[in-house]
Symmetry: C2
Subunit: 453 residues, 2 copies
């Protein structure tokens, strides 16, 4: 395949000629990465044209390759009947994910035009929180009531081979009045006579997860067991779906990415530059505007000490350094705590333990940074007093910063708040206030004790 | 299973009684998460005692559950012959990962005591970069030369069933003088007569990856294809291993976690609080000390304008706010660019495109934040001039910050530098300098033009 820098231009030229077949062929030859890039480069009209030119099956395949936000955004603008035809071909978990991303009205319009069976399963799935087993499971799985015979199952598989094409046939689930009773492997069928009833050969020790199981529990599940996936049951023990290992692992890496966005103040989980500017601006501002208020609060500490500052104007040079460096030291500790929480090597209740461990790093790094900044102050102004004021303030504030940074994610998690989003602003507000307070208090003491610096 | 808050205490009590069997049973009943936590809570001596009490097989299984750094750290302190017995039982990719984490001397001591075959394969694997197909592949796979018959293969599988226990038998690779020729599925064997030569039934259209393929290429591979794994070949086309989808997905989520640590200034990829304090302190300082120098550089802009500052001391209150808020706005843009780079919706060469998109967000958010801070300045001091100085400076600097924040990850990536680690410090240094410069220059202009604020 030719390696083109702007593959979307080729798509556009094929669309111009209405060359549906070549278009489909070219799309099939493209790497997923290039598809993602190309779709994001087409305008809405071209995106709609492309999906309409393809067969519903091919269009569904294309939609599954691109980020959810993009896919939902395009489908919202498609006529409901055409969109429904494509939705019929999507995997059940993708149907639910896209419908959840859409405006309710558009989603309802599509649902009402979908095949009744598909629509019903989609309606069931969108009720679940996307980050639970119910929200991540697929409903394409094989299950038979235990009173059936092996022969019935084999016949059913043979007769509906086309329908089961996309199914993973490694496991066949056995139920009693809908409740999960056990599991069979394909080879169990082959080794049994056709008259055998399923309840005679079923393996009853099947491990299932609840439909309300959280992503965290599912990650633990794939760590603990080696299955390609797990059957999902509801409160009554009824088998409602299968959650695949690969979907859990994908959600896990997605979660780490979202956490990265959140620690940097992107609210709402995801931002792509193809989103409308106003939406992006508003979401970023919702975090920035809280932050600027906290910043003003912190800076008010300086306002209360203007007299000291005007006597020792050199301090104004060091205040932003102390604020910024304490933020850096604290955020390092935040990152390590977030990481350890997700690895499971610390638990939210271990605040004291983590604090003690950060404290020793804080003393070491506080000493080094304090001496460094003190040295710079001395070289610049030749004043040992100034040097002790800023060095001492940075040293103490580094200890405070790593103490807070290490423990605040645990405390927030205990209170059920998202530590990735809130840790940073809380940390920097406290360390800024404390840093300014230390510096200016030390300076005012020095002023009154020694009569000027 | 009882849900204990401190499962490591139960481990210690079982170890005290030398109850190897109960110990093993208890470990098997534990969730991976609790194992990870418990091992990190034991001191070195207890960790060694635990692993020695278990059989090498069980010890190997335990090691595969805990973070690499922990596992390598424990094995370094074990007698080489005991460690080698456990290493013999590890999967080949885990052998290589742990040996790479160890001091060379200790790794060599263990290698020299391992079974020759295992040691040879481990020596081959540790030569690869851990983030390539070679570094992630396993060498436990089935391959046969094409001149063999189906009967030979089936006999071989039956006779060595024990050896192949942990293997994934879904695919059998067919080679000619070591070079990968194609693939067979188990059912191909069942449907052929025992005299058939493999070259008659092999599927030659096998998709393989090079041993030098990067993680990024491997992620694209699993996006493009639906296989459970891919055969890995070297420069000569010789089949050297198999890289599994699950290992690629694990590495992907690991990479997102590492990126989170790096954006917050944790150098070296990983930090756990069980690492020695001095090591943790040193690694954090290596980033902090660069940062403090950049901070001093930025603050020197203030030093050059001390005269302005001493005439309008209120500015000292706003300088840290402008510095901090610009950093926040810029880091939001950094996070979105890192995310879009990893999703593949932007490419490193699209600097201008990204800049234009950030620019419009920058204008909107700059306006809002500028007006906000201007309002605060006016309410506090009643001076419209002060209000315009700080509001204007923050507005312009927000635009600069998002422009740099959005584009710097792309530029760094183009120069082959890690954008997660370096984007933040470069961004804040430039925006600090520019923010201080704007504020103080505006103020000095106002001073000279209007004769005081």
């Amino acid at each position: 395949m030719e390696d083109v820098k702007r593959p979307w231009e080729k798509l556009i030229s094929l669309m111009k000629g209405n060359q549906a077949e070549q278009l489909n062929e070219y799309l099939k030859s493209m790497k997923t990465e290039d598809i993602v890039l190309s779709i994001s480069r087409l305008d809405k009209e071209k995106q709609l044209q492309l999906l309409t030119l393809l067969s519903p099956e091919d269009a569904a395949e294309l939609l599954e390759d691109i980020p959810e936000y993009h896919a939902a955004d395009i489908m919202e603008d498609m006529e409901a009947d055409k969109a429904a035809a494509i939705f019929n071909e999507l995997d059940s978990d993708n149907q639910a994910d896209l419908l959840t991303e859409m405006e309710e009205e558009e989603a309802e319009a599509i649902l009402s035009q979908m095949e009744p069976e598909e629509a019903e399963s989609a309606r069931r799935l969108i009720k679940y929180d996307p980050d639970t087993a119910g929200g991540m499971m697929i409903t394409e799985f094989l299950s038979f009531d235990e009173h059936h015979t092996v022969g019935h199952v084999v016949r059913e598989l043979r007769e509906n081979a086309h329908e089961y094409e996309g199914y993973n046939l490694q496991y066949i689930y056995v139920t009693r009045q809908g409740r999960l009773e056990g599991v069979l492997q394909m080879r169990d069928l082959l080794l049994s006579t056709t008259e055998t009833h399923l309840d005679k050969i079923v393996h009853p020790d099947v491990i299932s997860v609840k439909d309300t199981a959280t992503l965290r529990e599912l990650i633990n599940f794939v760590n603990d067991y080696d299955f390609y996936g797990a059957p999902v049951t509801n409160d009554e023990g009824v088998l409602v779906g299968v959650v695949l290992r690969r979907d859990i692992l994908d959600a896990k890496s997605e979660k780490a990415n979202i956490e990265l966005l959140e620690t940097q103040g992107i609210v709402g989980g995801e931002e792509l530059r193809t989103m409308p500017v106003l939406l992006r601006s508003r979401r970023r501002l919702s975090w920035l505007s809280v932050n600027i208020l906290l910043n003003i609060l912190a800076a008010s500490v300086i306002a209360f000490h203007q007299d000291v500052l005007s006597s020792v104007i050199a301090l104004a040079v060091f205040l932003p350094i102390i604020s910024d460096m304490s933020g850096c030291s604290g955020n390092q500790a935040v990152a390590v705590s977030l990481r350890e929480l997700s690895l499971g090597v610390i638990r939210p209740f271990e605040v004291v333990r983590v604090w003690l461990q950060e404290f020793s790093v804080g003393i070491l790094n506080g000493l080094v940074l304090g001496v460094l900044i003190g040295l710079v102050a001395f070289l610049w102004k030749g004043s040992l007093v100034l040097s002790f004021i800023v060095g001492g303030a940075l040293m103490l504030n580094t200890i405070v910063a790593v103490s807070i940074g290490g423990t605040i994610p645990l405390i927030l998690r205990r209170f059920g708040t998202d530590p990735a989003l809130a840790s940073g602003p809380i940390l920097t507000t406290i360390t800024d206030m404390f840093g300014f307070f230390l510096t200016l208090t030390f300076a005012s003491l020095a002023l009154s004790q020694f009569g000027g610096i």
